[in-house]
C-alpha cells in the first residue's frame, strides 16, 4: 500500500470537500438560472397585475400572487404567536420532564411529516369536520400546522442561545421571570426568531400539497372577498398550468415559476440579512 505524505493527504481532502461544495451549488445555479432565463421574457407588469384570460392561456397571474400573499400573511398571523409562545414556554418555563420531552419529540416528528399528509389532515379537520369548507382560513390553518414546528424549533434554539447569566443577573436585580424574558431574553433572541419565522413562512409560500384540498382554487377569475373564499395560489397555479391545461404556452409556465422562485428567494435573502444583522448586533 502506498503511504501518502500528510501534505498529499491534505491536498486530496481539500480537493474532495471543495468538489462536494461545488457539486451542491451547481444544480441550484442551473435551476435558478434556466428558469429565470426562460421566464424573464414572460414577466411584465401586465403579467404580474392582470387577471388570467382565455382559460389561463393568456393574461396575468395577479390572483395567484395575491392569493399567495394572503396565505403567507394568514399563516403568519396564526403560526407566529403560537410558535413563539410555545418556544418561550419550552425554553424558559417548562421543566425538563417526561411531558416536555414528549412535546419536543412531537415537534421534531411534525417537521418530518410529508406535506401531502398535512393537506389530507387539513381536509379532514378544518374543511370537513370544522366545516370551514375549502377556504383561505382552512388553508392558512393547515399551513400553520406545517409551519409551527419550524418556528418553534428555531425560536427555542435562539432563546437558548441567550446566555443564562443574563437571566440570573436580571432576576438578581429584582426582575420577574416575565420581565426578564420580555426585556432581556426576547430582544436578544429576536433576530434568530425572525430567521425561523421567515424560513417557516417561506416553506408555506412554496408548498402545493397542503393547500391542494384545503383552499386552493383551480381557476378563479376574481380576487377572494373573504377568508372563507377559495383563492388561487402561485405553487398550485404552477402545478395546474404545467400539467392540467392543454396547449399551455410554455412562456407563461416559466413566467409563473420565475415569480414563485423570486418570491421565495426574496424571503430567503431577507432571512439571510436578518441573520447577518443579528451577528453584528450581538453583544456577547
Amino acid at each position: 500500500m502506498i503511504r501518502l505524505s500528510r501534505h498529499h493527504t491534505e491536498r486530496i481532502v481539500f480537493a474532495v470537500i471543495g468538489l462536494a461544495a461545488v457539486a451542491t451549488a451547481v444544480p441550484i445555479i442551473i435551476i435558478v438560472g434556466s428558469i429565470f432565463f426562460s421566464g424573464a421574457e414572460a414577466v411584465s407588469w401586465q403579467f404580474l397585475l392582470e387577471m388570467p384570460r382565455d382559460g389561463m392561456r393568456s393574461g396575468g397571474i395577479w390572483p395567484a400572487i395575491i392569493g399567495t400573499i394572503y396565505l403567507v400573511v394568514g399563516t403568519g398571523l396564526i403560526s407566529i404567536p403560537l410558535g413563539v409562545a410555545s418556544a418561550i414556554y419550552l425554553s424558559e418555563y417548562a421543566a425538563d420532564s417526561y411531558w416536555t420531552r414528549m412535546i419536543r419529540l412531537a415537534i421534531v416528528n411534525l417537521a418530518g411529516i410529508p406535506s401531502v399528509v398535512y393537506g389530507l389532515f387539513g381536509l379532514g379537520l378544518f374543511v370537513l369536520f370544522l366545516d370551514l369548507g375549502s377556504s383561505i382560513v382552512a388553508a392558512c390553518l393547515t399551513l400553520s400546522i406545517m409551519t409551527i414546528p419550524v418556528i418553534i424549533s428555531t425560536a427555542e434554539e435562539a432563546l437558548r442561545a441567550v446566555p443564562q447569566s443574563f437571566r440570573v443577573v436580571s432576576v438578581g436585580m429584582g426582575a420577574t421571570r416575565w420581565q426578564t424574558i420580555r426585556r432581556v431574553v426576547l430582544p436578544q433572541a429576536l433576530p434568530g426568531i425572525l430567521t425561523g419565522v421567515i424560513l417557516g413562512l417561506n416553506r408555506a409560500a412554496g408548498e402545493t400539497a397542503p393547500i391542494l384540498f384545503t383552499g386552493a382554487a383551480f381557476f378563479l377569475p376574481k380576487l377572494p372577498n373573504s377568508i372563507f373564499d377559495q383563492t388561487m395560489a402561485l405553487p398550485y397555479h404552477l402545478f395546474v398550468i404545467s400539467t392540467q391545461v392543454p396547449e399551455m404556452p410554455i412562456t407563461i409556465q416559466y413566467g409563473t415559476a420565475t415569480v414563485l422562485l423570486a418570491f421565495v428567494l426574496i424571503m430567503n435573502i431577507l432571512a439571510a440579512s436578518v441573520r447577518s444583522w443579528q451577528r453584528r448586533k450581538r453583544e456577547w
Binding site: 437571566r167 436580571s170 436585580m173 429584582g174
Partner: protein
C-alpha cells in the same frame, strides 16, 4: 465586637439536588455598616451562602433549612416578596456580566423594572451610582455606548453601580475582583470602604490578602462549615483554629 447585626443566620443548611451539601449548620451575625468577608478554599460554600441571602438559589433546585433573618424578617417565610427582597439585597458576581444594553440602560434597568419612569430620577441614579462605584469620570461622556465596550474593571464597577442604583440595604459581592488587574482591584476596594458607611457589605474576596486588607469581620469557611470568625485583625494575627492558621499561612488551599 459588633452589636448591631443586620443579618442573623441561624443553623442554615443548603443542599443541592445532586446530593452535595453546600452549607451545614451555619450560624453567623452579619453586622451593619461593615465589610464581612467570607474566605476559604474553593468549595467552601461562600457563593452558596451569598446567593442564599437574596434567594437567588431559588432558580436552582435546592433544599434549605434554617433561618436567615434580615431586620426581623425571615427571608424563607412563605409570604416574603422575593422580588423586593432582591432589591434590598443586591448581588455582584465574579464575572462582570453587563446586560446587553448601553451603560445608562444597565443602571436604569432595575429601576425601570420597578416602574420608575421619571427621567430626572433615572439620571440622578445613573450619576450617583456611577460616582459611588468610582466609574463616573471614565464614562460620563459616553453613557449611551454599549456596556460591552468597557474594560473588565470598568464593567465590574458598572455591575456594582447598577446594584447600588436600586438603593439596596445589603450588598453581596462574590469575588468581585477575581478577573481584574491590580489597579482596578484597588479602585473597587477603595469604593467598598466608602460604601460600607451606607451599606451592609458581604463579600467573598478573591484572595486571602484581599480579605486581610478589607475585612472588618473575617469568616473562615471550609467545606460548608464556618470554622472561625473574628475581626479582620484578630483573625489574621492570632487565629484560634489550627485549620485557619494553616490556610492563612498557605499550608493548604
Amino acid at each position: 465586637m459588633f452589636d448591631n447585626p443586620k443579618i442573623r443566620i441561624n443553623e442554615l443548611s443548603v443542599g443541592y439536588d445532586d446530593g452535595t451539601q453546600a452549607l451545614s449548620d451555619v450560624c453567623l451575625d452579619i453586622p451593619e455598616n461593615a465589610i464581612t468577608a467570607l474566605f476559604g478554599p474553593a468549595g467552601g460554600g461562600k457563593s452558596t451562602l451569598l446567593r442564599t441571602l437574596n434567594r437567588l438559589n431559588d432558580l436552582l433546585d435546592v433544599s434549605i433549612s434554617g433561618e436567615v433573618i434580615i431586620d426581623d424578617m425571615n427571608i424563607f417565610d412563605r409570604n416574603v416578596d422575593v422580588i423586593s427582597l432582591r432589591r434590598r439585597v443586591g448581588i455582584v458576581f465574579a464575572q462582570p456580566i453587563p446586560l446587553p444594553f448601553s451603560i445608562r440602560k444597565n443602571i436604569t434597568y432595575g429601576l425601570e423594572l420597578a416602574g420608575e419612569r421619571r427621567r430626572a430620577k433615572l439620571d440622578d441614579a445613573v450619576e450617583g451610582s456611577l460616582r459611588s462605584s468610582a466609574l463616573w469620570d471614565e464614562v460620563k461622556d459616553r453613557l449611551d455606548d454599549s456596556a460591552n465596550a468597557l474594560s473588565g474593571g470598568q464593567q465590574q464597577r458598572l455591575c456594582i453601580a447598577r446594584v447600588l442604583a436600586l438603593a439596596p440595604e445589603v450588598l453581596l459581592l462574590d469575588e468581585p475582583t477575581s478577573g481584574l488587574d491590580p489597579i482596578s482591584t484597588a479602585k473597587v476596594e477603595s469604593s467598598l470602604q466608602i460604601l460600607k458607611q451606607d451599606y451592609t457589605v458581604v463579600i467573598a474576596p478573591s484572595s486571602i490578602q484581599q480579605t486581610a486588607r478589607i475585612a472588618d469581620l473575617a469568616v473562615f469557611m471550609l467545606q460548608g462549615e464556618l470554622v472561625e470568625w473574628g475581626s479582620g485583625e484578630d483573625l489574621f494575627s492570632a487565629p484560634r483554629e489550627k485549620q485557619t492558621e494553616e490556610y492563612i499561612t498557605g499550608r493548604f488551599g
